[in-house]
Amino acid sequence: MSIPPKPRKETPITTLSVPTVGGMGKTGSWRTFRPIVDYSKCTRCTLCWIYCPDGAITRQEDDSPKIDYDYCKGCGICANECPVKAITMEREAE
């Protein structure tokens, strides 16, 4: 769901954006491959959290990653960066 635009008189005079969750809608629907974390292999190094280009991974209390599937586009960068291969990419169900 995108943010409803305001009337012209109420918009700023140039394009200013503030951080917001899901301004362009739930991009998780773009995904073809889904990252799955094997928490028994995960060493809590947080590299996947650092590398996720969409901020779709959050750090949990124990530093393990939590993937937000509403916004994860399935790019696979986290799986590629994981040094212990704890993340696998699995094809989304048809």
Partner: protein, 392 residues
């Protein structure tokens, strides 16, 4: 206390940046602008000018630095000329689109090849569609005053557009003239510190210059156009207020000289406008009713004032130190476009003169006026664009 200094326009620009209390300066040298950033460097080094002086590796970087600094909410300045300006071209659009009040003197210099370092307006004229406000100055005092006026204008929240202050190479940049520099306290009163409406702040993150879908892009362009229209109201008001504070006014959008009863009005920009005033006095002694209108602001273009001038005169002779290849001189084009659909349409003759720094003196202007008045008498302009003193 105010003081009178005798100095080059380039050094006067440096003093104006200091007087405006500019906070960030992006410096990159290019002839004939170099002595602006050199003089500023001396003022910074001696401790007279407290500013962030950033040496950059190109003009593209200079403008990008100004964009970053202005977006951080501080008063920002750079200066350039000719090839430096055209290298900046892309970033100029980013500055205006981001609505950042950057002020940049441009020392008008010829573009190569066939390169040289003398005066020609093609460099800044070819930036006319970048969304920058453009002033053209006729003497060193006007250069100083216009820089102070420009910050007042562009920081107004109805405007928020960058401004070029154009001055011709050597004719102004390296010529010593007396200039009155007002008392700093009075300048501070006229030009209070810049208060940005938004700025980049790590504690309150935002980004600017983002993607905009076709649904909204036009609206942002429209707001730039609205600001340009508003600038046409504010520029004469600010010039008048400046005159009341400091004693000098420069004509607002157009400096008119003996136009009231003129049959023929000479339209020019920059220093050719100064020469035109001398020509007007000489020609009037010979019985020709001539006036001069020096277009001080080229963007926004003062078309309403041009239309008013057209109401009471028979002919415009327009002198351009530049040519839009395949069409006319820039000022001639814009003037003609301003008069279409209007009832009063004087004859118009365009003259291309002074390219690449060739001298245009009052004698040249007199010759142009006499040729024009011949055509005025026969009510027929024989040649739409005359290249003055062109070698055969």
């Amino acid at each position: 206390m105010s003081q009178t200094v005798i100095d080059t326009a380039n050094h006067i620009v440096a003093y104006a940046a200091k007087a405006a209390r500019v906070q960030v300066i992006a410096a990159y040298p290019i002839t004939p602008q170099t002595s602006i950033v050199e003089r500023i460097a001396e003022l910074v080094e001696s401790g007279e000018f407290d500013t962030e002086y950033i040496r950059v590796e190109s003009e593209h970087s200079a403008m990008s630095t100004c964009i970053g600094a202005a977006a951080a909410g501080v008063r920002t300045f750079t200066a350039t000329a000719a090839h430096g300006l055209v290298l900046m071209h892309e970033a100029l659009h980013w500055a205006s689109g981001s609505r950042l009040p950057i002020v940049m003197p441009v020392v008008n210099r010829t573009l190569g090849p066939g390169w040289n370092i003398w005066a020609d307006l093609t460099d800044s004229m070819s930036q006319r569609d970048t969304g920058w406000i453009q002033f053209y100055c006729a003497d060193n005092q006007e250069v100083f005053d216009t820089i102070i006026q420009a910050y007042k204008l562009c920081e107004n929240e109805q405007i928020l557009l960058p401004v070029m202050i154009c001055l011709e190479a050597f004719i102004l940049s390296h010529t010593y003239m007396p200039v009155e520099i007002p008392d700093q306290k009075k300048i501070d009163g006229f030009l209070p510190p810049y208060k940005p409406k938004w700025f980049l702040d790590v504690d309150n993150p935002l980004t600017h210059g983002n993607i905009v879908s076709p649904k909204w892009y036009m609206e942002f362009r429209y707001m730039i156009q609205e600001a340009m229209e508003t600038a046409k109201q504010l520029i004469p008001e600010i010039d008048k207020e400046f005159g009341e504070c400091f004693g000098f006014e420069h004509g607002g959008l157009i400096e008119k000289y003996k136009c009231e009863d003129a049959d023929l009005i000479l339209l020019a920009m920059g220093t050719i406008g100064s020469e035109a005033k001398i020509a007007v006095d000489n020609l009037r002694k010979e019985g020709l009713r001539v006036g001069s209108a020096r277009i001080r602001v080229f963007r926004p273009f003062p078309k309403e004032e041009i239309r008013k001038l057209a109401e009471n005169t028979q002919m415009f002779a327009i002198i351009d130190r530049g040519i839009s290849f395949g069409m006319d001189g820039f000022l001639a084009e814009e003037t003609k476009a301003s008069l279409y659909n209007q009832k009063d349409q004087p004859l118009i003759a365009g003259f291309i003169a002074g390219l690449g720094g060739r001298d245009v003196t009052f004698k040249t202007v007199e010759k142009i006026a006499k040729k024009s008045s011949e055509w005025m008498r026969t009510d027929r302009v024989e040649k739409e664009a005359v290249w003055v003193d062109l070698r055969e």
